[in-house]
């Protein structure tokens, strides 16, 4: 049994020597979460802006549901996707369960509400400010969507980073639908759980350090973006 000190040093060695297993796990994590963020952004940004722009029956309900789903527990998202994709489920034919695609789907489900709900808030603020001017320009609602998204771009980058942070740090959903299969669906968070249980602390710690670094980088990115926005846009 390694002492924790040694585990820490071994963890650093694993990172610095670009250990094959470690690199594989980190790169799969990145692929899954970046794909999920990309899909959730493509869907969530226009969806949020549309909810901000249009008044329709049931709009309040949509907003409440989006806000509520921001706090969706990852294991519940995982369970829902598991039921959909399992052999007996409605999408079982696709054979996606225990593949990275299933993990992407679960993470999209988790972060789509975050991106859509926060986009709705930011674009609605812009819309209140711009409505008269855009109406004066005779800009249609549909054409206003890209305008509002662009003019909220700095705030929205922070929103997307928040989505990425959530996707890359959650463990429950990817564990359930991915199955933590070595070399196939093992990502940073599920590997940390497994290695800690096994007592292989260096790998767990190494991955933990990378995850921590990633979260720190995301926050630094969000901070820099908002500072830049203040400086450039007033």
């Amino acid at each position: 049994m390694l002492s924790e000190d040694n585990a820490f040093i071994t963890a650093l060695q694993l990172i610095l020597s670009l250990d094959q297993t470690l690199v594989g796990i980190v790169s799969l994590s990145m692929q899954v979460s970046l794909t999920a963020v990309l899909i959730a952004s493509v869907l969530g940004l226009p969806l949020g802006a549309a909810v901000a722009l249009w008044r329709f029956p049931g709009r309040g309900l949509v907003i409440v549901v989006l806000n509520a789903f921001m706090g969706l527990p990852p294991v519940v998202a995982g369970l829902v996707v598991y039921l959909l994709l399992s052999r007996a489920g409605p999408l079982g034919e696709l054979g996606l369960l225990f593949t990275p695609s299933a993990m992407v789907i679960a993470q999209v489900l988790l972060i789509l509400p975050i991106i859509a709900a926060l986009t709705r808030q930011h674009t609605e603020e812009r819309w209140e400010e711009y409505r008269e001017q855009l109406t004066s320009f005779r800009v249609s609602r549909l054409r206003s969507i890209p305008t509002l998204l662009w003019d909220a771009r700095f705030a929205l980058m922070t929103v997307i980073l928040a989505g990425f942070g959530r996707a890359s740090a959650e463990v429950g959903a990817v564990m359930i639908v991915g199955g933590n299969i070595d070399g196939v669906t093992r990502v940073m968070t599920t590997a940390i759980v497994l290695e800690t249980n096994k007592g292989d602390l260096p790998l767990a710690l190494g991955l933990g350090l990378i995850l921590l670094l990633l979260v720190a980088l995301i926050n630094a990115g969000a901070f820099l973006i908002s500072e830049e926005a203040k400086r450039r846009l007033g």
């Binding site: 711009y130 008269e132 004066s136 320009f137 005779r138 305008t147 662009w150 003019d151 846009l233 007033g234």
Partner: protein, 243 residues
């Protein structure tokens, strides 16, 4: 409403027929009927809450009247090309020049023409040096000039100005007034509201005087300021409060 057709020596541009606007049970504009001629500049005056800004927004199409209708004469009932400059300029979060090219883009100007037109408009309003600065960090006076440049680039037939100088210092006010005169010189129909009587005298051909949601007097500017026909208008011109 003692005269619907004052100062309408040239062809009519816009007729309002019994326009009423209600909001949350309150009647804010009542039975407004008037005709604006196709030339010159109309100054809309009246105490706070008279409905001046509201009337402009209805004419510009930002608001729909609760009842009554608008008729644009020259263009077969369809609104002509128009623009509006607001009291507090609304600047998009982009550079000064991008604010102008955006307005051109949504108006359907071919992308090759946008930059040259925008540059010309910025130059005309002395904004060339700040063309690539973010619009929202410009001073209040520069922002209002940018709003005017943006309107200029759109080549409107009618320009609405809603108290465009109320938040500006004297130099900036002068720049806005010069711009309004320039618009008039190229044949743009000006409809502007202001609280500043001397400004109204400098810029107005006719005055539309509103009080409590009604048109009290519509007269050519000279007569309005020298010899108002109504008691309310003469009290207003003398600087007494009108309720």
């Amino acid at each position: 409403m003692n005269d619907m057709h004052a100062a309408s020596t040239s062809a009519p541009l816009l007729t309002l027929d019994k326009v009423t606007f209600r909001h949350r049970g309150q009647t804010l504009l009542q039975n407004i009927s008037l005709t604006l001629s196709s030339q010159g500049s109309t100054i809309v005056m009246g105490p706070n809450g008279a409905g001046k800004s509201l009337l402009m927004r209805i004419c510009h199409g930002l608001l729909t009247p609760t009842s009554g209708r608008l008729h644009w004469h020259d263009t077969g009932g369809r609104p002509p090309r128009q623009a509006m400059v607001f009291q507090r300029p609304v600047m998009l979060r982009r550079s000064a020049i991008a604010n102008v090219t955006y307005a051109l883009a949504v108006q359907g100007t071919c992308w090759r023409d946008r930059k040259p037109l925008a540059r010309e408009a910025l130059e005309r309003f002395g904004l060339t040096d700040v063309a690539h600065r973010p619009a929202r960090v410009l001073s209040g006076g520069e922002q209002q000039r940018l709003a005017l440049a943006r309107a200029w680039a759109l080549r409107p037939a009618v320009l609405f100005l809603d108290e465009p100088t109320s938040a500006l210092d004297p130099a900036a006010i002068k720049a806005v007034e010069d711009a309004v005169t320039d618009f008039g010189r190229v044949g743009t129909r000006i409809i502007m509201n202001t609280h500043d009587i001397s400004q109204a005298k400098r810029l107005g051909d006719d005055v539309l005087f509103l009080c409590q949601g009604r048109v009290v007097e519509h007269n050519n500017a000279e007569s309005f300021f020298l010899a108002p026909r109504t008691r309310d208008a003469s009290a207003f011109v003398r600087g007494e409060l009108v309720w």
